[in-house]
Amino acid sequence: MKAALFSPMRYNGPSAGEGWPIAGSIYSAEAAEQSMNSYLHQFKLADEVGFDWVTVAEHHYAPFSLNPNPMVTAGALTQVVKRAKIALLGATIPILNPVRVAEEFAMIDTLSGGRVIAGMLRGTPNEYVTYNINPAESRERFEEALNLIKTAWRETEPFAWQGRYYDYRTVSIWPRPMQKPSPQIFMSGSSPESCEFAAKNRVSLGFAFTNVPQAQKSAVMYREYAEKFGWKPTQDDIVYRVVVHCADTDDLAIEQFTNASKNAPRTSLTMANRDLEGAVATSGYYGRDKEAQRQRLMGKGLQERIDTGQVVIGSPDTVVKQLERIHRDLGAGIVDMTLAHDLGETTLHGIELLGEKVLPRIRQFQ
């Protein structure tokens, strides 16, 4: 099993409260700068201690994440992270210009010497408000944008694109991706529709902000669809994102995590604005298993989150055991370890513990 380190790159300034969007009146440029530098340092350390990937993602308009454009962060990471792959999980392509996304991925792939992992997601419901895109069009936009991006990477002659949502009269990107035929593409597998689309288009699958039982169902569905479309996904086609906090002992890990959580928002980004989320839900955004989709985003107690594989917490031995269960139940080949809190030296020590005492052991998982 491979390991990735993901940080949402939270703003480490004074508490901002809950909700979405968050007003800029409380924003501190110094705190934001300190936060960004802290995360770059964490990613650099993750690279040095042996993580296979470092991961960034796109979110807007809130201190939950200082990363509205993960391409910019990934560009910086190409100069800091020297060995690990740089994963963008991902770009929220239905709200972006797909040709621009194709160009930016190609730039990062070139700058990194062919180390980019190209995650492309529909994003959380609030992101559709960010650039005023109708969430009812989310899935169709996503599917067309992904198709267009793959075409832009593949096609060596200038081409025009007559789409439903995108219309270009000439596309011919420079630079082009370094990896051939293309960087590995991941998409979210949270819904049945996504599982089928990913399998049909031979795209790898990622799970985030879900739990193992639900991801397990989706993974089974993905593999069944893949078989129907004539191929077999490997372990490396499935990545599972989970909050991880590792300390020297179980008690210390739980104490540190619990204390840090007291000052953090208690709801997910999606549920931070319930009125908005409700409006998006009525648009058909979630697809045919809407209630299951919404349920997985609801806040839960720590023990329940541990039991269902949403949080991995403890000493290195405990973390290994919990990851082994995730690997066994889900068949994921990559675990995307999320740093939920930036606790300074404590977090850095946790990354070192993971690198020294966890990663060598989970690599043995087959």
Binding site: T151, T156, P158, A160, W161, Q162, R164, T170
Partner: protein, 194 residues
């Protein structure tokens, strides 16, 4: 307009405006595209599947020439190769050419491919995105060899694009036939409110 030759069947003559001639086989697959173009174009459709003789082609060219000095031609997949040869020989009559899902050019087409560098009119080759990767090299030959050529992918279609997404095909033809090479530059307004 009457059928210009005994082996040419006229399927349609309707609409007003700039003339566009559809050259297709007996299968009337572009009916919805033609319907979408009629409000802006004088659309004449011929079934030329039986008109392979020199006599038949001569009659066809005469008919096209009678429509005016700026005539765009649209060829269906089955007729694409034949119409390409006509356009090579008569650029004064066929002023712009759009090919709907033309066949990939292979080594067997080397004589035609060698000639395509001499093509005078602008050419738009439309391919479906669903089968874009099939024989991709053969599809690129049009773009690589014809001087004023464009390759367009019509999303979520294959060779039956004129039936699957007629509005999308018609929109591409509309722009290309009106401004030819200038179709690269959009004239759609981005303004939301005045």
């Amino acid at each position: 307009m009457n059928a210009p030759h005994k082996h040419i069947r006229m399927l349609e003559d309707a609409g007003q405006g700039m003339p566009v001639v559809f050259l297709q086989s007996s299968e009337p697959t572009a009916a919805k595209v033609i319907e979408a173009l009629k409000p802006n174009f004088h659309v004449v459709t011929f079934d030329i599947s039986a008109a392979g003789t020199a006599d038949g082609e001569s009659g066809l060219l005469s008919a096209i020439a009678k429509l005016g000095t700026s005539v765009g031609v649209v060829a269906s997949s089955a007729m694409a190769t034949r119409v390409l040869k006509l356009a090579l020989a008569h650029p004064d009559i066929i002023n712009a050419l759009a090919l709907i899902s033309p066949p990939p050019l292979t080594a067997a087409d080397k004589e035609l491919t060698a000639e395509l560098v001499n093509m005078k009119p602008p050419v738009l080759a439309l391919f479906g995105s669903r089968d874009a990767v099939d024989n991709a090299e053969g599809k690129r030959v049009y773009r690589q060899t014809i001087p004023k050529s464009h390759m367009m992918f019509v999303y979520d279609t294959d060779g039956a694009m004129a039936e699957q997404r007629p509005e999308a095909v018609a929109a591409a033809l509309r722009d290309f036939m009106v401004v030819r090479e200038g179709f690269l530059v959009t004239t759609k307004s981005g303004k939301i409110y005045p």
